[in-house]
Symmetry: C2
Subunit: 224 residues, 2 copies
């Protein structure tokens, strides 16, 4: 019974975070979800902020570990560069499995991260960047091998585009109009297939012309 309340707090909190966002979830929403006392969060975590970080880390660390392990394995299989499509599969797979899960707790992290993408809260931003930066670098390194026609900075930007598209797609899956888990899983699979085609083509596209050096005028011209 010792850490039971502690675990139940985290479980209840993470689905509330997914539903309402980290910012808009109050102590009282969490404790009342499991019939606990308002002081329980302070007792078990010290503060609400600490609980938020604990919830994020519990799901986040295994996710990063899985990605890195898969990347390592794919890289070790052959001396040739890992194909872009395979790299994207490795990147997306863990998150997609969570997003399609039947367990609301499993499903929470992708939703939380997708929200965090656009609602920058300096504290988590920093926390996640520290946790993310290393394995993002590893993927960018491997992408650079697979896309020798692009310089590193353009690769980083394009990977950012992919992450933005992915997050946006995940938010769509959150649409409350998609109720049944059967339909949700189907939608996730569908979007996954379409996103994969889109992202591979986008990443492999020819390098952008330097807008300064381009003789053909600005890439985005006035619509006059």
């Amino acid at each position: 019974m010792a850490n039971d309340t502690k675990r139940r707090l985290m479980d209840a909190a993470e689905v509330l975070f997914a539903e309402h966002g980290l910012r808009n979830t109050s102590v009282r929403m969490i404790v009342s979800a499991i019939g606990a006392n308002v002081a329980s969060i302070r007792f078990h975590f010290g503060s609400l902020e600490e609980l938020k970080k604990a919830v994020l880390m519990r799901r986040f660390e295994p996710l990063v570990a899985r990605r890195l392990a898969s990347l390592e394995e794919a890289r070790g299989a052959t001396p040739r560069p890992v194909p872009v499509r395979r790299l994207l599969e490795i990147w997306f797979a863990p998150m997609l499995e969570m997003a399609a899960s039947l367990d609301p707790g499993e499903r929470a992290l992708p939703r939380i991260l997708a929200r965090l993408q656009a609602d920058p809260a300096p504290e988590y931003e920093l926390l996640l960047q520290q946790e993310l930066a290393p394995h993002v670098e590893a993927f960018l390194d491997e992408l650079a091998r697979a896309l020798p026609h692009l310089d590193r900075s353009e690769i980083a930007h394009r990977f950012d585009f992919v992450i933005g598209a992915f997050g946006h797609a995940l938010r769509r899956v959150d649409d409350p109009r998609v109720r049944s888990s059967r339909r949700r899983r189907e939608l996730v699979r569908r979007l996954t297939a379409e996103l994969m085609e889109f992202a591979v083509a986008g990443l492999e596209a020819p390098a952008a012309r330097d807008p300064d050096a381009a003789p053909g005028g600005p890439v985005v011209q006035s619509t006059a």
Copy 2:
């Protein structure tokens, strides 16, 4: 002097909305920014919610109008489908000009919308969907002519990917580490050129295989 305070409230509010998000901007933050009284918002707008909607609409209506006019013009110029690249230019241009503007007020709307993308607030979601839906449909119609190898639903999803990537890129431009407006404008131009290449290739990619019918196994396979 009549509507002076009213206008100043909207001006101050929109940059605060861009900075802190619609949700996290309080009445007192707004009024203290221009030295007005807390009751002034109630007097001029009825409520804080009404002020938010007024701020959104003031910038939003001209944006939609510009896009539709440019689309109409491009479509009238030739009986052939408008190229994908041109459609994206028309879509991005107004927002990009705002994002690169020197006026913080001009710059606010893209930031607000980019935040709103991931922080769904039912009230504005509805408001914006009503305002957006018609001209999104018009763009999808034209995209369908330019991309005859894709069915309508896949086009809609891909356009969503583009919007997600665009929003994410705009959020990057918001990075407080990018201080000088000179550097910001440069970054916007750079990202624009790269995003254009990425998005055109992504939209024009071959249709995704139906994950059910695909004999080659799941598109995203387990990373075991």
